[in-house]
């Protein structure tokens, strides 16, 4: 089951948002991949793969979820990606 969403975090999927996202993927217990439309997807539980892919704010990405509750997980992860998670002090 897949869905195309737009990354909302101000600095893209790096640093803290990348950490939070891979943690959410691992916690879901589902097999999840993320990639650019038409591009080769990476394992969404891999923080290294995600950081190296360099997803930026405003990029469209295809999320693909396999598992028993793929619809619920896809919904939660889509919401995560379309929310802005960048925050910093000062």
């Amino acid at each position: 089951m897949e869905r195309t969403v737009t990354i909302a975090s101000g600095h893209g999927l790096h640093a803290r948002p990348a950490k939070l996202f891979t943690q959410a993927v691992a916690a879901s217990g589902h097999k999840v991949t993320i990639g650019r439309p038409g591009g080769s997807p990476v394992n969404a539980a891999s923080i290294l793969g995600i950081i190296a892919a360099g997803f930026e704010n405003g990029d469209e990405v295809v999320l693909d979820v396999e598992g028993d509750e793929s619809e619920r997980v896809l919904g939660e992860l889509s919401e995560f990606l379309t929310t802005d998670h960048d925050e910093a002090a000062g």
Binding site: A8, G10, H14, A15, R16, A18, K19, T22, Q23, V42, N43, A45, S46, I47, L48, G49, I51, A52, G54, N57, G58, T83, D84, D86, E87, A88, A89, G90
Partner: protein, 561 residues
């Protein structure tokens, strides 16, 4: 060993200490040999898994005891160590018959190269991976991954640079000073030194040439390390250490220059709970109370007026009869909020942030002002309110009127954008005070992203272009009789604080731990001295030259007494 007597770097704070050098670098991992495995791929994979798991567990354990920003970094590093793609890569490499050491080392190197290719932004993450690889290989070889063997006595810690994972395990009570050969004023080492009040000199190349046990004077004020000092040098250092200790013991009076010219010393606060500590460290009030904390955890809605009022009341109540400058919500750029920021800007630092975002969402501005006015009515503090990211006279007039309209008497603007510094006379004629945010003013003057390590060298408030803008604002304030403050890292630099006073700045706001050093530094120079030191800095071509010229001018003044 080369005979090194004196080393130059960037001093953090103005402390002086004397002690023995101890290098703290992990024993460098010998590059894993290319010898074939003797135990087979399955057994090697089990070893690799165990080593990676132990490194990850250690990082998580350290994360649990670390402060928030360090925790984020350490947790991300633990995730990288646990990364399934990394393990896949290790598994593939083991298939070729190599050892776990070799496979783990190569797999990390492969990902590091991938990140390095992704651009400057990721260079730091690539460095993280080298560090992780080193730890994992050390675990496989049964070596300690601990950075320091505690020598059992206080020491001057010498290193290339310190990573958060390193400092999280240091017993800082034993550390007299940090001296690093790399890193700048915004490095992790420098930030930690400021937070903990530890004497530090960063970016001092050559320090690796000092042998362990060498006696050194670390003089952060002068940015110098003196090796094997003679008796006279030691006596001089001891007397300065004693003078500093004595100054710190004196109850903190109001900040002033040697001739009595007052320079208010205020605290930067990010949360109401920090007020008590600021009072204890002698803050005469608050020069910057950031209000983002109320908003940042909320994704879609702003906090209520009642919630805000209670937080403001808590801060104001800690400073009866004293000035508390509150900055209106500064959303955008590095701290976007869903309900204020569109989130689709190519260039958020130049986008709809600060006052621009507040004007676009009138209800958020109105609620914040209402809550502030109500909190003022409940307390005895002198409330000043200022707006962030003001670019024009029209914006100044707009926000000043909005603040006055709710019954808050003193309204002002932040000077972060060069445009308002350049026409500070016109801006200040339309409002009650100005507060210079040196971090953003430097970013915008130098066109150098504050968050980008590759241009960090340009992010230096000592740059004469930045100082000249400060001078414009100081002169306008003096001409119109309006207060001009500085909040930002620049105010916490004891020598730069003198320069700022010499440029006409009337209050300095900083992290409370920096107050004591700045108070002592200001008390050494008269207003005329400060103006002369500022002139020396203004005449320089580069930030580093300005710092040196100011140091030389200051030393000439004190030597002439």
């Amino acid at each position: 060993m080369i005979e090194v007597r004196e080393l130059v770097g960037v001093g953090i704070g103005s402390g002086v200490v004397v002690g023995p050098v101890l290098h703290v670098s992990r024993q460098a991992a010998s590059a894993p040999a290319d010898t074939p495995s003797t135990i087979g791929a399955d057994a090697e994979l089990a070893r690799a898994r165990e080593a990676l798991a132990s490194v990850s567990a250690q990082l998580r354990e350290r994360a649990a005891g670390a402060d928030e920003s360090t925790r984020d970094v350490l947790e991300a590093q633990a995730l990288m160590t646990d990364d399934p793609a990394l393990l896949d890569s290790v598994t593939v490499k083991l298939g070729a018959g190599v050892t776990a050491e070799k496979a783990v080392s190569d797999a990390f190197a492969e990902f590091a190269a991938m990140l390095a290719d992704a651009g400057e932004y990721f260079a730091e993450r690539a460095a993280d991976l080298h560090d992780l690889a080193d730890r994992a290989v050390a675990a496989l070889q049964g070596r300690s991954t601990e950075l320091v063997i505690d020598p059992g006595h206080p020491y001057v810690l010498v290193a290339r640079d310190l990573a958060p994972a390193d400092t999280a395990v240091l017993d800082l009570d034993r550390v007299l000073a940090f001296v690093t050969s790399e890193g700048g004023p915004t490095s992790h080492t420098a930030i930690l030194a400021r937070q903990r009040g530890i004497v530090a000199i960063v970016g001092a190349p050559g320090v690796e040439g000092l042998a362990d046990g060498t006696q050194v004077i670390v003089d952060a004020e002068r940015g110098r390390v003196f090796a094997d000092p003679d008796a006279a040098e030691l006596a001089d250092a001891e007397s300065r250490i004693a003078a500093r200790a004595a100054a710190a013991d004196v109850p903190a009076g109001p900040g002033a220059l040697a001739d009595g010219t007052p320079v208010k010393l205020l605290a930067n606060l990010g949360k109401p709970g920090e007020a008590a500590e600021a009072v204890r460290l002698g803050a005469e009030g608050v020069g910057l109370f950031r209000t983002e904390f109320l908003f940042l955890d909320r994704l879609t809605t702003a906090p209520t007026v009642a919630d805000q009022q209670e937080s403001y009341r808590e801060v104001l109540a800690a400073f009866p009869g004293k000035r508390v400058v509150v900055r209106l919500l500064d959303a955008g750029a590095d701290k976007p909020l869903a309900f204020l920021n569109p989130g689709e800007e190519e260039n958020p630092a130049l986008g709809r942030r600060g006052l621009r975002a507040l004007r676009a969402t009138a209800s958020v501005l109105a609620d914040q002002l209402t809550a502030l006015a109500a909190a003022q009515a409940q307390t005895e503090a002198e409330l000043w309110v200022m707006a962030p990211m003001v670019a024009t006279v029209e914006e100044t007039a707009f926000v000043t009127r909005a603040i006055h309209d709710v019954g808050i008497r003193t309204a002002g603007v932040m000077v972060e954008i060069p445009s308002v510094a350049l026409i500070a006379d016109r801006v200040l004629s339309r409002t009650d005070f100005a507060s210079i945010g040196t971090n953003d003013l430097t970013q915008y003057t130098m066109a150098a992203d504050r968050q980008l390590g590759s241009v960090a060298a340009l992010q230096d408030p000592w740059h004469p272009a930045v100082l000249r803008l400060v001078k414009e604002v100081g002169a306008a304030g003096a001409a119109l009789g309006k207060p001009v403050g500085v909040c930002g890292e620049a105010a916490a630099d004891p020598l730069l604080a003198v320069v700022l006073a010499g440029l006409g700045v009337t209050s300095l706001s900083m992290s409370p731990t920096a107050l004591a050093d700045v108070r002592v530094s200001l008390a050494r120079y008269s207003l005329d001295d400060a103006a002369a030191i500022a002139e020396a800095a203004l005449a320089a071509d580069e930030a580093a030259d300005a710092r040196q010229a100011a140091r030389a001018a200051a030393d000439t003044i004190t030597a002439g007494r």
